[in-house]
Assembly symmetry: C2
Homo-oligomer: 246 residues x 2
């Protein structure tokens, strides 16, 4: 059962990608779309709001909506696991556990996972790749209440997120990401097959359940020649924030 406004959004998206509405062209008026699809104006507005949030179209009061880009790129609009993202890009995600061990929670672990300092926590170092080529080193710390389920996952499993969902029903609902850059350390360099001190794109993230309970936090380091992030923003609608360090 798909909502009507989603069907309409999908149809408009396809039409834009098909260049039926080329870049710079106007979309039909809301009332026009409403009669065309046999729905009320409110439903049409739900649909076009989704496209606007994706940066596909722009709008101003009084003027027709304008097609901005026929993009297919993966943005941060939706939270997705590495495996899901790779699949959406038509690539194959791989992954293997390089090391895993229990360590007492550091002050940082405790703060990010809302757990008492010193709690034994599962630390996992994973190397992940696209079509066999290594692109990402992932250092993840799991909350104590989920680590048994994580340990039960095959070390070569391509999508831990999906595995955990199937096994335990756990949903990764929210993600908070901090993006910066860092020099490759010795281990990063070896695993990613780059020179030491070469620049890596780092994402430190905390993932939580629907009710905001932290599940894991991770330090992810990407080869910047293999992966980048794209964000679209508009006046009054800005999903990305720049934050000063310290």
């Amino acid at each position: 059962m798909t909502a009507r406004h989603e069907q309409i959004a999908a149809e408009l998206r396809r039409a834009i990608h098909r260049e039926e509405y080329p870049v710079g062209a106007h979309l039909p008026a809301e009332t026009e779309l409403a009669t065309r699809y046999g729905v009320s104006r409110g439903t049409v507005r739900q649909a076009v709001a989704a496209l606007a949030a994706e940066g596909l179209i722009g709008s101003r009061q009084g003027a027709r909506r304008v097609v901005l880009a026929p993009r297919r790129s993966q943005s941060f609009a939706e939270l997705r696991s590495f495996a899901q993202w790779a699949q959406a890009m038509g690539r194959t995600a791989t992954g293997r556990v390089v090391a895993h061990e229990y360590r007492p929670a550091t002050a940082e672990d405790a703060a990010r996972l809302h757990l008492p300092q010193g709690t034994p926590l599962l630390n996992v170092l994973r190397l992940r790749g696209l079509d066999g080529e290594p692109v990402l080193v992932e250092r993840t710390v799991y909350a104590d209440w989920i680590s048994p389920a994580v340990e039960a996952v095959d070390p070569d499993c391509a999508s831990v997120t999906q595995r955990l969902y199937e096994d335990t029903g756990l949903v990764f609902a929210h993600g908070e990401h901090v993006i910066d850059a860092i020099s490759a350390g010795a281990r990063d360099a070896t695993l990613l097959a780059v020179r030491r001190t070469s620049p890596l794109l780092r994402v430190r993230r905390v993932t939580t359940t629907h009710d905001g309970r932290p599940v894991e936090w991770s330090d992810d380091r990407y080869r910047p020649d293999a992966v980048s992030f794209t964000v679209h923003n508009a006046i009054g609608h800005n999903p990305l924030m720049r934050t000063p360090a310290g």
Copy 2:
């Protein structure tokens, strides 16, 4: 004249920051908020949708909305206006033009600005800082139709965006950003006072008007110890990508 749904969003935002609704707590039901503010349910939904987009609250069908974070998100912070962002964070933005010259449009310039290759374009190299400390090297190429106005701007002007708006009425309405990491070159290193080859956070962006016409594009390199980016995202209840293939 502020829309009622924005007033309500602002009130709820303040209440969350005041920890009237602490992290993990439930927000009142939509109908409850509707009667409290004397508006219809639709208006309440517009308000809470804004908070959800900011990552302040989460929601699922059937369950009350949950407070996720008391973050003080400067949601009006403009990614493309360094000066406005700095001001919102309570910092002082500085900027000076290091070099500027006209160069024929490269293939990349032509593609990004939708202009013919070879067109003489204004290239500007700016060094920008926070509270006097250099944090960002900006290499901007302007579309030919705006460069006269850019040349008229004071080289030490802190906010070019605002200046251009005042002078010409030009609105930077949309931005498309690609984020990765890169080694500091000799010039970057000198200007930012870091070692050569040290990692920098790079943002390549294209800024457009309301109707999608490109105004400028820029290669911005940040000191990662001074500036990072944060993104909050959620698993959308709009299964846009969840539509079955075919």
